[in-house]
């Protein structure tokens, strides 16, 4: 069988792609990582040597075919190699979120029954050691950074480089075995198992085959004409399907270079140095970056600020049109060119986006204003709609057809269907194999014909074929008077304001909508500094009367804009409060990918919601918080509950007509 797949010329596994790249593009860089202040690089040839040594070391350590190997660490070449080495020996790599608490890790490690763990450093090793008594199948752990590890019992602990050395030393003995195992890999063998972040309930292990990954990588690379000269910066969690597809699937398919930042804090500097051509980020990253730009422009001199404002207005008017190749007058083209010289060019350079040819945002809806900002600068930012279960791609926006209110047309090879409830279903070569050890969920998500329910409500625009997503199917509801309740829509409008980091809207089955708001500490803190407002903590700042006033203005502005949409005008925010703590994944209020867990927030802050609806002016509350090390504490505060002005819907309509 192995012979036939090779004979067919099929590159049916990641290790096979690695071998092709090492043979054909051996001298091209495959990985770069900044270490000790310098970009260290590995060519495809070096990469194959590294991975082979590691794979031999894993066999030497006793890894069998079908074993699960958990990988815990931030984006570093070593962990990408670990994943491919695991595949080469017939094992299944399971990347984990490295910021998970030990408890969450215990669940996943136990669920997949990982016999081996490859961890980054002492912090991760400690977490696994903390829970290892409960992990019956766990046997050996490999760590990358030896710092602080000297005193540990090394009977089951091994240093990464030692495993590679041992593998290299035993190459004569194990190379035939490695070749035998790698040759057996085909389209049907498992490529990777990724745990979904679990907006609801326990995480589920999504099993993706080589077919899923390689077909998706191939189709999407063709869609955007990705080639071997792309540069990407790998900084998103390795446990997330997106990173796996971009940094492994597409990178191995196209043989382009994956760059790893020095540390999470140096991300922005590293981004600037690398200047990626293909860039991917969740909306939050774009939001944060825009917020930073705006804060810094607020601090700039009058002349610079005026210049910025003038040319940003030009960009807003004509930038997206130029990007989409639509007709623009000569005068506007000249102003835009000047703007590019003075403002957009330097700005893009500062943001590390000078060379971005294709940029994607996904994971959540992006605020239209944020989206337009980047496009107006001439950055080809597009939206993508996808899921782990689809190996990312469901729909994508083709060049020249980019709009902020749709998520684009079906990706190559994807079929779409909207069911009677408005829920979006799809079928594609990327559709996952099954949920590991969870046949009930597999059956309820994926039907016999291979259609998968997305859990999102949406519709396909008849004339353009673009898909529009309204909200999570289970979040979309009806208000007491029967009008549509779509919380995301309003929350995204709120979140566009730099001062607002997060918003949660309530109102399903009720007569009015209420909102929780999280302020953005960096934006509001900077504003407070400029206005001589003293504060000592997040909580104090969040409760400051002038902050509340500013937030109230924002809420009312959103109400005005929501009122313009006939279908959703019932979702205006009647009352709101500013939360005394940031919603946090450690407290279970958000997923690790920073999506709000609506139900949990609703339960946890029930007292606050009651108070909002009861019309109280303020409420005293105590909230339990979990620190990063897992200890618990509590914070209490008296929160002000504030009324916001509502736009009369009817008169608005009359005025509009």
């Amino acid at each position: 069988m192995a012979q036939s797949s090779q004979a067919a010329g099929g590159l049916q596994s990641i290790p096979a792609l690695l071998h092709r790249n090492a043979t054909e593009f051996g001298s091209r860089p495959a990985y770069r990582e900044k270490e000790f202040g310098i970009w260290q690089s590995w060519t495809w040839k070096d990469t194959e040597v590294q991975i082979t040594n590691l794979a031999l070391g894993l066999i030497n350590l006793g890894v069998n075919e079908g074993d699960f190997i958990a990988i815990i660490g931030r984006n570093r070449p070593y962990f990408y190699w670990s994943m491919v080495a695991a595949q080469a020996v017939g094992a299944v790599p399971v990347p984990l979120y490295q910021d998970s608490a030990a408890e969450e890790m215990a669940y996943v490690l136990d669920h997949c029954g990982a016999r081996f763990v490859i961890a980054e450093d002492q912090e991760q090793v400690d977490k696994v050691i903390d829970v290892q008594d409960r992990l019956h199948q766990f046997e050996h752990m490999i760590y990358l950074d030896p710092r602080g590890m000297r005193k540990y019992d090394h009977s089951r602990l091994h240093e990464f480089s030692h495993i590679q050395e041992q593998g290299h030393a035993a190459r004569d003995e194990f190379t035939p075995e490695l070749q035998r195992r790698s040759a057996k890999l085909d389209y049907d063998s498992t490529c990777v198992m990724l745990y979904t972040s679990g907006t609801t309930g326990k995480p589920k292990g999504v099993v993706l085959s080589n077919r899923n990954v390689i077909e998706s990588a191939k189709n999407s690379s063709e869609f955007d004409h990705l080639g071997g000269n792309e540069e990407i910066l790998a900084y998103l969690p390795m446990a997330w399907v997106g990173d796996f597809i971009f940094s492994v699937g597409q990178a191995y398919w196209c043989a382009f270079c994956v760059n790893c930042p020095e540390s999470p804090e140096t991300m922005n500097a590293d981004l600037r140095e690398i200047g990626p051509t293909y860039y991917f980020a969740p909306p939050r990253v774009f939001e944060t970056q825009l917020t930073n730009v705006m804060i810094r422009m607020e601090d700039a001199g009058k002349f610079k600020k005026a210049l910025f404002d003038k040319y940003m207005a030009v960009a807003k008017r004509v930038g997206p049109k130029i990007l989409d190749g639509k007709p623009v007058s000569l005068g506007d083209r000249i102003s835009y060119a000047l703007g590019d010289l003075f403002i957009y060019g330097p700005l893009k350079n500062t943001m590390g986006m000078s060379r971005v040819r294709v940029g994607y945002t996904a994971g959540e809806a992006i605020g239209p204003e944020i989206f337009e900002f980047y496009r107006s600068l001439g950055i080809n930012l597009k939206q993508l709609y996808g899921q782990t279960e689809a190996t990312v791609f469901i729909t994508q926006q083709p060049d020249g057809e980019v709009r902020n209110d749709t998520v684009g047309v079906p990706s190559p090879g994807v079929e779409l269907r909207i069911d009677d409830n408005g829920e979006v279903h799809y079928r594609s070569p990327g559709v996952f194999e099954y949920y590991y050890k969870n046949p009930e969920s597999t059956a309820s998500t994926k039907d016999a014909e291979g259609w998968v329910a997305t859990g999102d409500a949406g519709f396909i625009e008849p004339d353009t074929g673009h898909l529009r997503i309204i909200d999570r199917a289970k979040d979309v509801g009806k208000m007491a008077d029967g009008s549509l309740f779509a919380p995301k829509y309003v929350e995204n409008k709120l979140k566009f304001f730099p001062n607002i980091l997060e918003a949660v809207l309530f109102g399903n089955g009720r007569d009015k909508c209420m909102a929780f708001i999280n302020i953005d500490m960096s934006a509001v803190g900077n504003w407070a500094e400029r206005n001589n407002i003293a504060y000592s903590s997040y909580q104090e700042l969040a409760g400051h009367p002038r902050v509340l006033e500013a937030i109230k203005d924002h809420v009312e502005e959103v109400n005005r804009s929501v009122a313009e949409d006939e279908m959703l005008s019932g979702c205006q925010v009647h009352r709101f409060l500013v939360l005394h703590k940031e919603l946090d994944a450690d407290d279970g209020e958000m997923t690790r990918t920073r999506k709000v867990r609506r139900r949990i927030v609703e339960e946890k802050f029930d007292d606050l919601i009651q108070a909002l609806y009861a019309g109280k002016d303020e409420i005293f509350t105590t909230t339990e918080v979990t620190y990063e090390d897992g200890r618990k504490g509590s914070i209490s505060a008296t929160l002000k509950l504030i009324d916001a002005a509502i736009q009369p819907v009817k008169t608005q309509k009359v005025a509009a007509e």
Partner: protein, 273 residues
């Protein structure tokens, strides 16, 4: 004090402590009529973390300044690596392998973090000013070598993101860390830390404690530190010297010192559990 043998001992967590690195014999230091230190003797063994504690004005910083050679005591002897140390200039002490940080941060505020840490390598640079001005050749090679050492320390202390930031722009906790980096850049045998945790919040203290333990563990550096935070001292150090009014009132492992009645009276006020 009965547990330790003359030549080294083994700590509770299994680290082997070597022989005597530095010994202070009957040190007395006077400023005019004021006796800052009266007849104090203690030793620092190779590989250990040694703390000096005491209430305000007890003479801790004076003691550290004696060790670093900044003050020359009127009476007593300082022995370092088996030899009696004659009165020395501070830079000569540094050349012997003793580096320090300061209570009230003494960095070059206008220079970047990297440059500040590079100054810690000064004693390892052999080229002269003229060679450095010409730059090509020897000076360049030397800078590359030293930069490598410095980058490893920057990586170790996790300050990569502020490598190019001027020190003046940094918050206090980070400045402390930069100071530690500069001291480490000299690759000292003995590292003196003057109140490394002063003015820090809990998280910064935890980080700093971690770094101190890691430095000791990874580089095998002997550390002598002065600290006010009792929790930190008791957790970090292998042996503690307690001073009060310029006199030594206790010396031994943290648990022993904690239960010493003189120490409780003078410093802790009440018994800790």
């Amino acid at each position: 004090m009965t547990v330790q043998k003359e030549e080294g001992y083994v700590t509770a967590d299994g680290r082997k402590i070597g022989g005597t690195l530095m010994e202070m014999k009957n040190i007395t230091l006077r400023f005019g009529g004021v006796k800052a230190i009266t007849d104090i003797s203690f030793d620092i063994k190779e590989g250990e973390i040694r703390a000096i504690i005491g209430p305000n004005g007890a003479g801790k910083s004076s003691m550290l300044n004696v060790i670093s050679g900044f003050y020359v005591p009127q009476e007593g002897e300082v022995w370092f690596r088996g030899a009696k140390r004659p009165p020395m200039k501070p830079y000569e002490v540094a050349q012997q392998g003793i580096a320090r940080t300061f209570q009230n941060i003494a960095l070059f505020e206008g220079m970047s973090v990297l440059d500040n840490v590079m100054t810690g390598r000064l004693n390892n640079m052999k080229t002269n000013m003229f060679q450095q001005a010409i730059w090509k050749g020897k000076a360049e090679k030397e800078e590359v070598e030293n930069r490598e050492v410095v980058e490893k320390i920057i990586d170790f202390l996790e300050i990569q993101s502020i490598r190019k930031t001027p020190v003046a722009r940094l918050p206090y906790g980070l400045k402390k860390r930069v100071e530690l980096a500069r001291a480490l850049a000299a690759e000292p045998k003995l590292l003196l830390l003057d109140e490394p945790m002063a003015g820090m919040n809990v998280e910064e203290k935890e980080d700093m404690s971690r770094f101190i333990l890691d430095v000791n563990d990874e580089f095998g550096t002997t550390i002598a530190l002065i600290e006010h935070d009792m929790g930190v001292v008791m957790d970090l150090s292998d042996r503690v010297v307690v001073m009060d009014y310029g006199k030594k009132i206790g010396d031994g492992p943290p648990d022993e010192v904690r239960n010493n009645q003189d120490v409780i009276d003078a410093y802790l006020g009440v018994a800790h559990d």
